[in-house]
Symmetry: C2
Subunit: 458 residues, 2 copies
Amino acid sequence: MQQVLSYLDANKDRFLAELKDFLAIPSVSSQSTHNADIRRCAEWVANQMSTIGLQTVQIMETPGHPVVYADWLGAPGKPTILLYGHYDVQPVDPVNLWTSPPFEATIRGENLYARGSADDKGQVYIHFKAIEAWMKNNSSLPVNLKVIIEGEEEVGSANLDSFVKEHKELLKADMVLISDSSMFAKGVPSLCYGLRGLAYMEVEVTGPNTDLHSGSFGGSLHNPIQALSEIIASLHDKNGKITIPGFYDDVRPLSKTERAAFKKLPWNDRKYAKQWGLKNLYGEKGFTTLERLWARPTLECNGIWGGYTGEGAKTVLPAKAFAKISMRIVPDQTSAKVAKLFERHLKKIAPKTIDIRVRALHGGEPAITPIESPGVRAAVAALQKGFGKKPLYQREGGSIPIVVQFKKLLGLDTVLLGFGLPDENAHAPNEFINLDNFFGGMRTAAHFYNELPSYWKK
Amino acid sequence: MQQVLSYLDANKDRFLAELKDFLAIPSVSSQSTHNADIRRCAEWVANQMSTIGLQTVQIMETPGHPVVYADWLGAPGKPTILLYGHYDVQPVDPVNLWTSPPFEATIRGENLYARGSADDKGQVYIHFKAIEAWMKNNSSLPVNLKVIIEGEEEVGSANLDSFVKEHKELLKADMVLISDSSMFAKGVPSLCYGLRGLAYMEVEVTGPNTDLHSGSFGGSLHNPIQALSEIIASLHDKNGKITIPGFYDDVRPLSKTERAAFKKLPWNDRKYAKQWGLKNLYGEKGFTTLERLWARPTLECNGIWGGYTGEGAKTVLPAKAFAKISMRIVPDQTSAKVAKLFERHLKKIAPKTIDIRVRALHGGEPAITPIESPGVRAAVAALQKGFGKKPLYQREGGSIPIVVQFKKLLGLDTVLLGFGLPDENAHAPNEFINLDNFFGGMRTAAHFYNELPSYWKK
């Protein structure tokens, strides 16, 4: 183990240089213009897997972007980890808000900035180097490992579901390991045991059948932007509660233990507001900010557009207005039911002066992992050794739908070993990974492989 | 006069060919990429003015786009008309909604389709050909004529005000004549005696100081799209009335005579709704559709944008959301006061969870012209002869701010001799001018020059 740690320490510069190559590939999965980049990125991952000593490396086709698979199964009698990550990234617009180009990884201070640095290429790469360190120094791993790195996480992992179904035998394992989430704060290593799910919708409001002159026609018909605004405004009440009937029916109430655990975490609302340049926070009454973020469902507008949005003034009364609206859901809500409730409610409240179309773009389920499982206990031990500090427990507001699918399709619990930070700008300009977390993450991953077998026996 | 009419009839094909050249120049004044086209268009207008026999032709510079001036002053003792029009046009986006290219004039059925065909190049050209017909057949006009065709009407005529101030002597006249509006309906020649004004605003709502991940942060702060929607939704009450305090204070109430005159016009709400593909109309309670369109102020969203508006799903909680909102105003409201009321109200109602910026983009005043003035009476006579039908009186929902400026700066009343149609798509895809109106407009313009002197004496 000491050799492994020394190796990780000795090769830091090379690791950063290699990571920059990985981050330079603009593997944006939601934009078809980047299809060739996605392919190139899958090949980069496959090459890397071979280089670090994994076996059975293969780029496996799907109807969408490919999954890259590799394994190392030379530890009979030891548990088998299914390590999951993704090599695709979010779009980069508005690109003018990036301080350095999104696909030219740049170190400023103690962070490395690039699209995908934290979500999720950087965290995938952490495992690659932990594996490399074991293989170069011991020619073996302390566990069996199967690795799948997919290319469609940022567009809802549309094909991973059937991929897992088709390869149940190949993917057979004892637990799933994912590093695609954040620690609670810099210097506060923590283990995430719960995720929110997602129901992502698109709404299209149509007024007149063509754009009209707002002078000649304004006042006689319902402006679709106004109608859409009225609909959106009505979706929260004065207490910040979502007004969709039945929306909260399946929400698992927070236990006293959980609320107490959250209160142990270092948190300051004023500091949080200040960090994001806000005078005041906003949210559902009766809950703390951490409770709102992790254990309460939300409804957010991710985008809105309609009419003239260019330079200057155009006096148009537009034919259409659009919004992208997503709901984060918590156990025991399901994305399908929430999407249906949303659609039914919007169609019901839509005024008779406009037409409305509601479309579900994608969904993912919420998840909670037992704190007592051997995987979580091994992760707590590994974090303590990797960062020299006892980790705290937390939940996470984001979604990793595949966690639910692994449970459903393979019967496996997932351990979420996240090395990001909450302010890492994962889906925004200036995404970064903290370098302490990057190298601490490598040590933690190396320890985790080492710790797991002993916890597994107990 | 008969020769003039015969000439207009004999040269129809040539007139259409020439008009197509005029419409082929993409003189979009709001987009600086079209500055060279604007210049080319001004030169086209100047050449045309020389060709038809006008004198003193000159392209007169302004700090923005130039004004083209010409005159013919060979009728001493007769009234002098100041003819105003504009050679600039609206942007053409969304360009994919045009059936034929916006700058390739195309005849389909009884209409000619192109950007600027009705607003206002087509109507400017109508006068050019009426002038040509008089000059070619009589070597003179029955009136004195001064013509100014500007290039900034679609961006608020920012420099025309000072242009008129600087050239008060040059522009001295007895009345202003403008053809930049619509008839009431196809086959219903009408004379417009009132215009609405405009106050065009831009609103910027800022939430967090960067785009955030809607999973990791959703629920803890006020989404700027949601906040903007709430603000927009609150600007109308359940009766379709605008909620800005003081907004209606200066609105001149509709007289009984006016309401009765409007009721004489052929109108059918169901047909109107059907024309625009609407199941139901929307508007201020207590007023008919025509009253809402012409004599009541309105507030319309002309554009809205924020967050992710591309293909697919991006789980962003955006930093900013924007809207372009314009108010149409009626006598005796003023754009400056309404803009101030709007700004003050929005700043007051903006929640403390976001920041708001409100900016006035441009404004124009409403206007009413006396029905008893000699110019209006001559126009009624000319319309009757040009279209063979007694015209009706109407108002218009759009704005021609310069009408107010001509009154204020030159002391002149304006006659609005509009040859467009209400469904001409003036600021939208598939703008057109009806060919009957185009040629009937030429006859009417020729008659107007002939009729005016006799009414002027009375």
